[in-house]
Symmetry: C3
Amino acid sequence: LSSALITLTSDFGYDDGYVGMMKGVIYSINPAALLVDLSHSIAAHNIGQGAFLLHQAYRHFPPTTINLAVVDPGVGTARRAICLIVPEVGYFVGPDNGLFSYIIKAEQERGANLTAFALTDPTYHRAEVSSTFHGRDIFAPIAAHLSLGEAPANFGPAVEIDQLVKLEKFWPEIVQKGQSRLIKGQVAQIDHFGNVITNIPANLLGELTQAQRDKIRFKCGWLTAKGLKQTYGQAKKGQLLILVSSSGFIEVARVEGMAYVYGTGVEGSPKITVGSPLTLSIS
Amino acid sequence: LSSALITLTSDFGYDDGYVGMMKGVIYSINPAALLVDLSHSIAAHNIGQGAFLLHQAYRHFPPTTINLAVVDPGVGTARRAICLIVPEVGYFVGPDNGLFSYIIKAEQERGANLTAFALTDPTYHRAEVSSTFHGRDIFAPIAAHLSLGEAPANFGPAVEIDQLVKLEKFWPEIVQKGQSRLIKGQVAQIDHFGNVITNIPANLLGELTQAQRDKIRFKCGWLTAKGLKQTYGQAKKGQLLILVSSSGFIEVARVEGMAYVYGTGVEGSPKITVGSPLTLSIS
Amino acid sequence: LSSALITLTSDFGYDDGYVGMMKGVIYSINPAALLVDLSHSIAAHNIGQGAFLLHQAYRHFPPTTINLAVVDPGVGTARRAICLIVPEVGYFVGPDNGLFSYIIKAEQERGANLTAFALTDPTYHRAEVSSTFHGRDIFAPIAAHLSLGEAPANFGPAVEIDQLVKLEKFWPEIVQKGQSRLIKGQVAQIDHFGNVITNIPANLLGELTQAQRDKIRFKCGWLTAKGLKQTYGQAKKGQLLILVSSSGFIEVARVEGMAYVYGTGVEGSPKITVGSPLTLSIS
């Protein structure tokens, strides 16, 4: 475990050296750790965006990977700090504020036996803990100690999984209406290429006939699209299409050399952004 | 070779975790790999910009370096995936869409014996290959297997170098006009400091007298400059000067504490950008 | 020392591959080096900003860490290149232009016995040294050779610490006015969260009574705040408060889910930016 992989996710940005300091703390404890930045561009304090990004990525890393995640508006208050353990997947270290909501939900649906511990024992924290930067002072040293093989139970008392804080309405809701189904979800990410990625896992749609695939309708404010395709190649330049994203979520893309959706809204209509509600209807 | 260096270049940006997922895939196969990000800020789908950035950088890495490059507008179509081998330099893994044009041209001029293989054998891909993210599902695992010493011939059939896709007009053209030479090139990069870097390698100018150096003229739309200098110190604050860039290409810079050229164009004149045509005249 | 940690700080940005090339040079010399990016977003040629960022971060890394820092407007001129050695802290490699001013001042106040050497021996530079990119051609190879255990005295002649270039007025000044003290400082950084971080180390305030803490006044142009708090939790949403930053400096933050100060100035008043003068008054 000593050369264990540690991923880092935060809303710290790349400019101020905060991420570098966390790495300095980790390497001070375990110079053999392998560090991978997932993203430090989570919108400041946007727990939902961070939670989804972790969800999208966590299954692409080796088992026993340690995921350090810090989107932490409640730092310095009484909010709990936790280590969540997912068998055959790895560890999640961060504030108990909903950041692991998607992972808990998805892994419980898979039947995984999750456990969690509060990070209360100062033995495993930095000697001096600031009131505003627990990423550096608590979560980074905990991740480093985990990578050295320390047992999570040593960090503090066990916490029941259903006692952990969950995001509100983060998981898509299915409404049956006679012959047709309505899936109510939200925009989970608008990526670098302008793809609008939803929080709806493709497997939530179940088995579909080709006729059903062709009739699927997506609606998010002014943005509408019809027909679930397999690849960009199945639509013409400029067309919107519904796809399964490379991480397994329903997304809407525009084919135009690059796919994008930015700035194509109707004047005066609400902006589409992370968290905007959307529906997918299947009949 | 197990601790081989792998460079990563893409148009994925730093925000969405796509680069992190590629690293997760690589480390899952070879945890001893050394990973270096070259740039993930290539403009979306701008193959020419990616090709030049690789060209500028690739000679600064150890021999046997594996260069993973993904600017891939044709992902999911029939475009070929390749591994290019440059003796004493290393490996280039990516889509066959012109991304290695400069390197092939430069290395052929040096007399290097290049070989290439198509990446068709699924043994070396991820178990599940998406239609939109071959960076993660094909190129990353191939790079990781290369770093473990796998022979490129195992990845698929050999491809003739002259069968590989090349960019159009990417290499500067020399026109002789009586006593004077005109070199027609293009803007290859506008860097963080505002330097306008051309695709003209300095060695294309040949041996020049001081009188010839002083008379060299650069023209790119509204941007003109005269006289090839050795350092910033040879011009005054605010002056434009022609230089050889740190990677050996002709560039135009403005001396002003920092060098920059942004936003100094004549109203209504076309914007200078990556790909803009330019000329260098030597008499 | 062969797996020594090397931090990298510069004004190169993340787009052009310049940082990647420096890493290529380092790994060519020592593939076992551990590299950590501190920040490459220093404003172009802003030595003061780079100097402060190093100051904020350097104590969070293991002893013997090598800090490679390049904000280098004078590259190619006669400005000196140096390696500064701080016992029990590590090495600082970069141009002699004031970039290490804070560290020298802080460590001298701690009574550290500093030494420095000029980097004049070409044996330890790249074979070909450009006139515009000493980060890659001189500082990166020096850092790599240091990480292999090379003695700094081999790089060139010793330089007296008081002969090194210092920034002007970078250190806060204390003015005693009868019963009250005025500390004159400057804005050292405006971070990703909008916190205005000053160059005033909290320990410069000395021991304060609660009454004194409550009466402390901060003034920087239109931005004023009163009362030194311990955490964000001690003020209401939207309020400005004075805090000690996670790295030990006086900062001003606004509580509003996220703390920020951007764009809240009075129309026509001067912009608050890195380098803006400010005062802290204690009575």
